[in-house]
C-alpha cells in the first residue's frame, strides 16, 4: 500500500511550531517511514506549481501553522484545502489567531509609525517608511502588503481538526499523526486534546477551594506565587478554569499561571468572557468602591483574557475610527 501523503505549511508564525516537529527528534524518522511528506517549505523544495498539479484528495492531510495575514497565504491555504482530504490547524496562531492576533487591537498605521517614525533609536528625518513598490537607482523592488486583520485559519478555509497550544507539545503531535494513520479520527471540527478544563488535571487543584473568593488580583511584577497553591486561590489570574487541558500543565510546572494557549473548553464560545464571568462571580466585593477596586486590580483584561484568542473572540478587533488607513 502506498504511504499516505502529508503536507506541512506555515503562514504567519514564529517558527516555534516547526521547532516542535524538530523536537520529535528520533521519532521524526518514524514519521518519515510511515508517511510521504510532499510539502514542507522549511525543508523540501516544492513550489506552488507542484501543489497545483496534485489531484484533489490526493494528499491525506495538511498541517498548517500560523495566522493568515497576506493574500499570498490565503492563496496557498485555499489551494491546500482543495487538494488535501484533511486540514489540521496546527498551534494557537492557526487555531485562535495567537499572540500576533493581538495586533487586531491596533492598526497598521500605528504599527508603521511606532516602528519607523517614533522608535527612540530611529533616525529618519525624511519620514521614510517601507513601500510595497520602490525604486533604488532604477532597480524596482517589491514588498508584500498586509491585511488590516490577523485571521485564524478557519476564518479563511474550512478546517477539519485543531491541534492546540503555543506550541503544541510534541506528544500531542505524535497522537494526532497516529490517529490519522490508524484512521481513528474524532468527529470533524474536533480539537485534538482533552475536553476538560486545565484545572481538572492541575496538580494544584486540591488547594482550589470550592467557595473560592477573590478580593483583588495580585501582580506577578510585585508578588511571587506560592510554589504549590492554586494560583487563583493565591490571588493571581490563571486561565485554567476556561482553558482546555492537555498541555501537561507546562506553565504551572514553571510556577507561573496559565495564559490560555490551548483555547477554550468545548462548551465555551469565548474564553475571555467565560473567564471574566468566572472571575466576576468569585469577586468578594460588597460596595461599589470595592467592586471598582476589584475590577482595577485586573490590569489589561483584553491582553490577558484574550492573550491567544482575540481574532476568534466575540470582540475580534478594536474598532477603528473611520479615515484611519489600515
Amino acid at each position: 500500500m502506498a504511504k499516505p501523503k502529508v503536507a506541512f505549511y506555515w503562514c504567519a508564525s514564529c517558527g516555534g511550531c516547526e521547532e516542535t516537529i524538530v523536537d520529535l527528534a528520533e521519532d521524526i524518522l518514524k514519521v518519515v517511514e510511515a508517511v510521504d511528506i510532499v510539502l514542507w517549505p522549511v525543508a523540501l523544495d516544492f513550489k506552488l506549481k507542484d501543489v497545483k498539479a496534485w489531484k484533489p484528495g490526493e494528499v491525506a492531510v495538511a498541517f498548517i501553522n500560523g495566522a493568515v495575514r497576506l493574500s499570498e497565504q490565503e492563496e496557498w491555504v485555499k489551494l491546500l484545502r482543495e487538494k488535501c482530504s484533511l486540514v489540521v490547524a496546527f498551534g494557537s496562531c492557526a487555531h485562535l489567531g495567537g499572540i500576533p492576533g493581538l495586533a487586531n487591537a491596533t492598526t497598521r498605521d500605528e504599527i508603521i509609525a511606532n516602528k519607523y517614525l517614533r522608535a527612540p533609536t530611529v533616525n529618519n528625518p525624511e519620514g521614510t517608511v517601507p513601500q510595497e513598490k520602490s525604486k533604488v537607482n532604477g532597480f524596482e523592488l517589491e514588498l508584500p502588503n498586509f491585511w488590516k486583520d490577523v485571521k485564524a485559519l478557519d476564518e479563511v478555509i474550512d478546517v477539519d481538526y485543531y491541534l492546540p497550544g503555543c506550541p503544541p507539545p510534541f506528544e500531542t503531535v505524535a497522537t494526532a499523526v497516529n490517529a490519522i494513520l490508524e484512521n481513528k479520527l474524532p468527529p470533524k471540527g474536533s480539537v485534538i486534546a482533552p475536553e476538560k478544563a486545565l484545572c481538572e488535571t492541575c496538580p494544584r487543584n486540591e488547594s482550589k477551594p470550592d467557595d473560592l473568593t477573590i478580593t483583588s488580583f495580585k501582580r506577578l511584577a510585585t508578588s511571587t506565587p506560592d510554589p504549590e497553591k492554586c494560583f487563583l486561590a493565591d490571588g493571581f489570574l490563571c486561565m485554567g478554569p476556561a482553558t482546555r487541558g492537555g498541555c501537561g500543565e507546562r506553565c504551572i510546572n514553571g510556577n507561573m499561571p496559565c495564559r490560555g494557549c490551548f483555547g477554550p473548553t468545548p462548551d465555551v464560545l469565548d474564553a475571555g468572557l467565560k473567564m471574566l464571568s468566572a472571575v466576576a462571580s468569585r469577586g468578594a466585593a460588597d460596595t461599589e468602591q470595592a467592586s471598582q477596586d476589584f475590577a482595577d486590580s485586573l490590569v489589561d483584561p483584553l491582553g490577558t483574557l484574550y492573550r491567544f484568542s482575540l481574532p476568534v473572540s466575540m470582540l475580534r478587533r478594536r474598532l477603528v475610527p473611520t479615515g484611519d488607513n489600515q
Binding site: 506555515w10 504567519a12 514564529c14 517558527g15 516555534g16 516547526e18 521547532e19 516542535t20 524538530v22 523536537d23 527528534a25 517549505p41 522549511v42 525543508a43 523540501l44 523544495d45 516544492f46 513550489k47 500560523g66 499570498e72 497565504q73 496557498w76 495567537g98 499572540i99 500576533p100 495586533a103 491596533t106 504599527i111 511606532n114 516602528k115 519607523y116 517614533r118 522608535a119 527612540p120 533609536t121 530611529v122 533616525n123 529618519n124 517601507p130 520602490s134 533604488v136 523592488l141 514588498l143 508584500p144 506550541p167 501582580r219 506577578l220 511584577a221 510585585t222 511571587t224 507546562r250 504551572i252 510546572n253 514553571g254 510556577n255 490590569v299 489589561d300 483584553l302 491582553g303 492573550r307
Partner: protein
C-alpha cells in the same frame, strides 16, 4: 541586456528573506539586495500590556530563539523596576541561558551551517543537508547531536516551564529554583556537553581545517568584510552571553566604545529603507554611510565571531584554548572572514557548556532566595543579552503602574541586516561573472548569509536544514530566460 536574479526562499511571512541580484549588460553583478518581508508590530500591540507579561509575550518573536527574548525581557524588567535579583536567581537564569546557547549552536553547526563544510560547499544539493552530514560522520554521531540537544532542552523545560516560550523570568528574579537532585542530573548533562563541544571542534579541525580548499574558502576575500564589531563582555572583557557591558571595536580591532546597556541610545541609531521591513542600526558617531565597510562606516557586525573579536578572550579554560587556536589560524584579531563565524560558534558552544558546568558546581545554584520583589515605581528599562545570532535589545517605557507606553526592540538580525546585505552582494560579485550562474554558485551566495545564521532564516532550522531556493534570470523585457531551482 539587463538581467535580474531572484533568490526567494519559499514564502514565509515571518521568517524569510529574499535576495534580488541585478546584472549589468556584461552579465556581472551590479547590485544585490537582501529584503526582509517581515513586520509584526510587537512594538505596537504590546502597548497597554502589563510590562511583566513581556517576558511571556516576546518569545513569540522567534520560536527558534525564544529563550533569548525571554531573558532579555526579564533583564529589562529588572531595570524597569530598579531591582537587583539575588545571586541565585541570576545564576539560574544564566544556567538556562547557557544550556540554550549550547543546544542552539549545535543545532546550527550540525543541521544548518555545517552541511556546507562537512559535506562540501559544491556537493550536490541533495547531499548538502543533515542526511549528508549523517552519511559523512556516521549515524552514531547524529544520534549524539540529537541526544545532546534533547538533554539541554529538558533542562530548560524543567527549569523554565516550556522550552519553546519559557515562562520563569520575573522582575527581580525567577519563579522557581532547582533541587539538589536536579543539580546532579543537570551536571551530567553539562559534562557531556563539554565533551561533545570538544569533539565537535575536533571534527571541525579534521574535516575543515585539514582541507586546504576549505581553508582557502574561509579566507577568501569574497567572504570578508572589514567592519566594526559589537558584543557583551564581562568586567575582564571576556565574552559573556547573559550580562555585562557592550563593547565595540573598529575594523582595526581597537576599542571604539564600551558602555552599559542603559546608554545604548547614545551609541546606536537605526536607518530606514523603503525596500525592507527591517531597520538598519549603525554607530551614531560614525553615521549612516550606506551599505559599505571600512573604518568610516557605521555598520557593525554582531554574532559569534563579532563577540570573539570584541573580547580579550573566553572566561573558561578549554574555550580559551580553542579561542587562541582559532585566531592563530585566522592570522590574528579581529578576523574579518565571514565564514569563520561557524568556527567561533563552536568555540562559544564549548564556553556555554563549561559555563553550565561551573554554575552547576556552584553551591549557590540550589539556593532558595530566588527573588527580590520590586518595590520602586517603574519608568524605563533596558535589557541586553547576546542571542545566538547577536546582540539583542529590549527597551520598555511604562506608566507608574507598570503598563507599557512605548517599546523598542532591536534584534540580532537588525544589527546584522546591513552586513548580511553587504556579504551577499560581495559574494555575488565574486561568484557570478559574465552572466554565468549555476547551483553551486548560488549556494555560495547563500552561504554568505547562512554564516550569520540570520533569524529571518529560522525557516532553515529544521531537517534537513537547507533553504529551498529558486533563482530566475530575466531579460530586460521581463521574460524568464533561465530558471534554477534546488
Amino acid at each position: 541586456m539587463s538581467k535580474r536574479i531572484t533568490i526567494n526562499p519559499i514564502t514565509r511571512l515571518e521568517g524569510h528573506g529574499k535576495i534580488e541580484i541585478f546584472l549589468d549588460d556584461a552579465g556581472d553583478v551590479e547590485r544585490a539586495f537582501l529584503q526582509i518581508p517581515e513586520l509584526r508590530g510587537f512594538e505596537t500591540f504590546c502597548l497597554g500590556r502589563p510590562a511583566e507579561e513581556m517576558a511571556r509575550i516576546t518569545p513569540r518573536i522567534c520560536g527558534v530563539c525564544p529563550t533569548a527574548h525571554h531573558i532579555a525581557s526579564t533583564k529589562c524588567l529588572d531595570d524597569l523596576w530598579h531591582v537587583d535579583p539575588p545571586p541565585t536567581a541570576k545564576k539560574l537564569r544564566e544556567l538556562v541561558y547557557s544550556a540554550f546557547m549550547c543546544e542552539d549552536h549545535f543545532l546550527h553547526f550540525y543541521f544548518l551551517g555545517g552541511p556546507d563544510f562537512v559535506v562540501g560547499p559544491t556537493a550536490p544539493a541533495t547531499e548538502r543537508n543533515i542526511l549528508g552530514v549523517i552519511a559523512k560522520v556516521g549515524l552514531d554521531i547524529a544520534g549524539q547531536v540529537i541526544a545532546m540537544r534533547r538533554k539541554c532542552r529538558e533542562l530548560i523545560e524543567t527549569m523554565a516551564g516550556k522550552v519553546i516560550h519559557p515562562v520563569f523570568g520575573l522582575p527581580g528574579g525567577v519563579s522557581k529554583g532547582i533541587t539538589e537532585e536536579q543539580r546532579l542530573e543537570f551536571l551530567k548533562t553539562a559534562e557531556t556537553a563539554v565533551e561533545f563541544a570538544q569533539f565537535s571542534l575536533n571534527l571541525f579541525n579534521d574535516v575543515v581545517l585539514k582541507n586546504d580548499d576549505y581553508v582557502k574558502l574561509i579566507l577568501d576575500d569574497a567572504y570578508a568584510h572589514r567592519t566594526n564589531y559589537m558584543g557583551l563582555v564581562d568586567e575582564n572583557n571576556k565574552v559573556n552571553f547573559y550580562d555585562g557591558h557592550v563593547r565595540v571595536v573598529g575594523p582595526d580591532g581597537d576599542e571604539f566604545a564600551r558602555f552599559a546597556p542603559r546608554d545604548y541610545t547614545d551609541h546606536f541609531a537605526e536607518h530606514v529603507e523603503p525596500w525592507s521591513y527591517v531597520t538598519f542600526p549603525y554607530l551614531k558617531s560614525k553615521g549612516w554611510k550606506g551599505f559599505v565597510d571600512g573604518p568610516d562606516s557605521g555598520v557593525v557586525r554582531a554574532a559569534p565571531l563579532a563577540r570573539c573579536n570584541v573580547a580579550d578572550g573566553m572566561a573558561t579554560p578549554l574555550a580559551q584554548a580553542a579561542y587562541e587556536k582559532m585566531y592563530e589560524t585566522l592570522g590574528g584579531k579581529p578576523a574579518h572572514a565571514t565564514l569563520a563565524f561557524h568556527w567561533a560558534r563552536l568555540v562559544e558552544a564549548l564556553y556555554a557548556a563549561e559555563r553550565m558546568k561551573e554554575l552547576l558546581e556552584d553551591p549557590e545554584i540550589t539556593g532558595t532566595d530566588i527573588r527580590t520583589e520590586p518595590t520602586r515605581t517603574p519608568d524605563e528599562g533596558i535589557g541586553i543579552v547576546e542571542a545566538p545570532r547577536g546582540t539583542l535589545v529590549h527597551h520598555y517605557f511604562t506608566d507608574d503602574n507598570g503598563v507599557l507606553t512605548k517599546v523598542n526592540l532591536i534584534v540580532a538580525t537588525n544589527f546584522n541586516a546591513a552586513p548580511i546585505a553587504m556579504s551577499v552582494e560581495k559574494a555575488a560579485k565574486g561568484m557570478i561573472k559574465g552572466g554565468k550562474v549555476n547551483d553551486g554558485l548560488l549556494n555560495m551566495v547563500e552561504m554568505a548569509f547562512r554564516a550569520y545564521d540570520p533569524c529571518h532564516a529560522c525557516a532553515t532550522h529544521s531537517l534537513p536544514g537547507q533553504m529551498p531556493l529558486v533563482a530566475r534570470v530575466y531579460d530586460s523585457t521581463g521574460k524568464t530566460i533561465k530558471e534554477l531551482r534546488r
